[in-house]
């Protein structure tokens, strides 16, 4: 039997190639306009894309590997807060999961958790998040307040290349702490999502009680990086917990994903090199994983798509002449058929899904929606949308029972 996989997309500004904004098809003055995002995410939704991740960062230069990212003026700059962009897109879409990127170092975990729960209500069960550890110097200066704070992390300079970003996490106390904090934030988000049991609101007119307070629980988190006492302000949302995703390239992030995530994005340079990554994730899961469900693995591909290989090569040459792409992901330059072949190979190698990062927006996203998805479906490698009401269920993940309800059931 052919393996079927989910196809997700990763969206970022004008696309993942630094010269993408200079393409004739680009809309570089609309990167913060509602219509730009509405058009593209609706197209992905209509095509059957399972979810869209939305990039974000807390500084002008974002997550670029370029050492002068904060100051150079030849790259597309300016973005919207991803959780809020996802919330805006929620009522405008039907099926697609909305997975904003969130930074775990500076923002308040309580606000993050309630924002994601609210996204889950607004999307009627299609919320997720991609959690990112760490902070660069400019992010830290933008926030300011953690300087000299005992829980503050040292800032790190940009490394200049993905191969060394971060350098082996084990070698850096800063990065180790950043990943511990990311784990703590994820667990806080899950705990707050569980803090109201599903049936906490009783509206009992006879006794005058709106809710059963025995079914709303303070989280009482007292961690290494922060403390949170109370329950969430938001009742339990349609999915119970938002989908937790993490991008990982090496041991410590692999362990973060194994311990805390529902979905991990990995970057094998080809299908053959997936096996050692999966083996490392499996070993880490065996040691650390508390979540009842198996970690789902999505492989990332950065794609340039044209109708012919010659046209694709020409586009690639034009982009690379204007700016050199530095990326963590495997790059595929080719036809929709070439992309489908690559997805088939990854499916055969055992991934649960593929996340396509369009080199150019909207051009490559349009090609994904109009060409790649239909061809993948025709080839029998696309997991069909069976109409499951929530993102988790569409991915085959059951709705988590609140930890408090679980305890009662056991007792």
């Amino acid at each position: 039997m052919t393996e079927r996989v989910h196809i997700a997309v990763g969206l970022d500004g004008a696309g993942w190639h630094p010269a993408a904004w200079r393409e004739a098809t680009a809309r570089p003055t609309e990167l913060t306009s509602p219509g730009y995002w509405r058009d593209q995410v609706r197209a992905a939704d209509a095509a059957g894309v399972v979810f869209a991740t939305l990039e974000d960062a807390l500084s002008l230069g974002g997550r670029s590997y370029e050492a002068d990212a904060e100051t150079r003026r030849d790259r597309a700059r300016g973005r919207l807060d991803a959780v809020l962009l996802a919330s805006f897109l929620a009522p405008l879409t039907e099926r697609i999961g909305l997975v904003p990127t969130v930074t775990t170092t500076h923002p308040e975990p309580f606000h993050l958790a309630t924002g994601l729960q609210t996204l889950d209500f607004a999307s009627r069960g299609r919320a997720g998040a991609r959690f990112v550890a760490g902070a660069n110097e400019q992010e830290r200066a933008n926030f300011g307040r953690r300087t000299g704070d005992s829980t503050g992390l040292d800032a790190v300079a940009r490394s200049g290349s993905p191969a060394s970003t971060p350098p082996r996490v084990e070698q850096s106390a800063h990065w180790q702490a950043a990943f511990r904090e990311a784990g703590e934030v994820i667990e806080a988000v899950r705990a707050l999502a569980d803090s109201w049991e599903d049936d906490a609101i009783i509206r009992d007119v006879a006794t005058g009680r709106f809710l059963d307070r025995d079914r709303v629980h303070n989280v009482d988190i007292d961690g290494e990086f922060f403390a949170i006492t109370g329950a969430s302000i938001v009742p339990r949302s349609p999915q119970g917990q938002p989908l937790v995703t993490v991008l990982a390239h090496q041991t410590v992030p692999f362990r973060l994903a194994a311990q805390h995530a529902d979905v991990v994005f990995v970057t094998p340079q080809d299908a053959d090199r997936l096996a050692p990554i999966v083996a490392e994730l499996d070993a880490a899961s065996a040691e650390l994983r508390a979540e009842p469900e198996r970690l789902r693995v999505f492989a990332d591909l950065l794609v340039v798509i044209e109708d012919t290989r010659a046209a694709a090569d020409q586009t690639w040459a034009r982009l690379q002449e204007r700016a050199t792409l530095v990326t963590d992901a495997r790059v595929i330059v080719g036809t929709p058929g070439d992309i489908v072949d690559e997805i088939r190979a990854l499916a055969a190698a055992g991934v649960d899904g593929v996340r396509l990062r369009p080199a150019r927006q909207p051009a490559d996203l349009v090609a994904i929606a109009e060409q790649v998805l239909p061809r993948a479906a025709a080839a029998g490698i696309l997991a069909p949308d069976d109409g499951a009401p929530t993102l988790r269920e569409r991915l085959g993940l059951p709705r988590p029972v609140s930890r408090h309800t679980r305890q009662e059931t056991r007792a």
Partner: protein, 450 residues
């Protein structure tokens, strides 16, 4: 000239004003409720919808309060979602200057301004207590006297960030490869006792330049903040003479700041009950008040003041004849706290005694005294009178039902306000929230591409 009435629609809150026992009461959290509420307010041509903020669930005597509606969305996320299902109405959220940081909140508000085509507003509130702080990284870190110092600096930093992208910062010249003008973004540095920010903003200038800023505090510091930074005050002064006095006081402070009188709108919170006759409206008002203040609500209200268990008392009987529990005499601030609580109780006893009120009737008097009660004609005339006679510039209307509480107002009162010539008959395309409130525009506008 006829002064124009400005109305805001307050989403029903998590307090006893919101009646959940009514059979028509819907969800306080499902998106459909927010969508209905916003669409009705837009149908009624309101200036904006207004949302409160949740930082922690209410507690009563150390346990989660279970008698009132509880549970609400994250303010920013629900406003962003509502931007997608509305076209004209403003979207105003209450957001703390204590448990947020300027860079992040400024980019979140600018995001909603972009997504809504210039319709966002920020009700800036201060808080500094350890109870709410316990849900946040820094805990109850802020000394009480620093609340408004931080709020004021927070607003200054935010305004600087919102103005930091020059109108022509984005060049986006595909031929030359220049995306940003070299000096297109101004760095914002602010180092004081409370902040150490050295920021480069990452969101381009938004349609309104900056959000409309609302302020709700009534203290001297609050009024000072309002005259320095706010475009709108959400006041508590609804009695006509008191409202006029507050209006004169605040507007009188504007000249010293170099501001025009109409650059700051005053929109007191107000409730209303309609009926076909005045008598019917009064009867409905009484019924709603009894639903808002059920016996257990009244007892709980007194328990909060006395800090004692009154579960054995009859809500239809007289006030408890016992001393309040004001904590240990050795605790810091005991004398002041004790005196304040005693003064409050003396005042309650005097009110109850002079009119022979039961516990429940006293609490109704204090928390369920509806502002406008009468026929739609009467309510429209009263609202117009306040505005024409400079007791307010309009009102922040609070319905008692979620989410249908303002439907009746839109249907019955709005047409009468329009007939009086003091309320808009339609929105204009492309109006920002600044425009709806008749405020001077800030900065430049970008096409919204909706």
């Amino acid at each position: 000239m006829t002064r124009q009435i400005h109305l805001a629609a307050h989403f029903p809150g998590v307090n006893n004003q919101t009646v959940w026992t009514d059979p028509t009461s819907g969800s306080q959290i499902d998106f459909a409720s927010f969508e209905h509420f916003a669409r009705n307010a837009e149908k009624g041509l309101f200036d904006y919808i207004f949302l409160a903020e949740g930082l922690r669930l209410r507690e009563h005597r150390g346990r989660i309060h279970d008698l009132d509606v509880l549970g609400r969305p994250n303010t920013l996320a629900i406003l962003a979602a509502l931007a997608a299902v509305t076209d004209h109405i403003g979207l105003v959220g209450t957001l703390s200057t204590t448990f947020n940081e300027p860079y992040e909140l400024a980019r979140q508000l600018a995001t909603i301004d972009h997504l809504s085509g210039g319709r966002v507003g920020w009700n800036a509130v201060t808080s500094s207590d350890a109870f709410h702080g316990a849900n946040f990284r820094r805990g109850g870190y802020l000394a009480h006297p620093d609340r408004y110092t931080r709020a004021s600096e927070f607003a200054e930093i935010s305004k600087a960030l919102w103005a930091s992208w020059h109108p022509d910062a984005i060049v986006a010249d595909a031929t030359t490869g220049e995306f940003l003008r070299e000096d297109g973004i101004t760095r914002v540095a602010h180092t004081t006792r409370l902040f150490d920010v050295d920021a480069v903003f990452d969101v381009p200038g938004s349609p309104q330049g900056r959000p409309v800023i609302v302020q709700a505090g009534d203290s001297a510091d609050g009024r000072d903040f309002a005259t320095a930074h706010a475009d709108v005050i959400f006041s508590l002064h609804t009695e006509f003479a008191d409202a006029q006095q507050f209006y004169r006081d605040v507007k009188g402070r504007l000249a010293a700041r170099g501001r025009e009188e109409d650059s700051l709108k005053i929109l007191p919170g107000a409730t209303f009950v309609l009926g076909d006759t005045d008598a019917e409206a009064r009867e409905r008002s009484r019924e709603i008040a009894l639903a808002q203040v059920r016996p257990e609500t009244a007892i709980t209200y007194l328990e909060q003041i006395w800090n004692r268990d009154f579960s054995g008392y009859d809500a239809d009987g007289p006030l408890p004849d016992v001393e309040p529990d004001t904590g240990s005499e050795h605790a810091q601030g005991f004398a002041n706290r004790h005196a304040a609580i005693r003064a409050r109780i003396d005042q309650l006893r005097a009110t109850a005694a002079s009119e022979n009120l039961s516990i429940r009737d006293l609490v109704i008097r204090l928390t369920a005294n509806h502002t406008f009660v009468g026929t739609p004609d009467h309510v429209a005339a009263e609202i117009d009178r306040y505005v024409q006679q400079r007791a307010s510039d309009g009102f922040t209307l609070i319905g008692h039902l979620s989410p249908h509480g303002l439907d009746e107002f839109t249907e019955k009162v709005v047409p009468l306000l329009q007939e009086r010539g003091s309320y808009r008959r339609s929105y204009e395309d492309g109006e920002t929230l600044h425009d709806l409130l008749e405020l001077e525009p800030v900065g430049v506008r970008e096409p919204a591409n909706r």
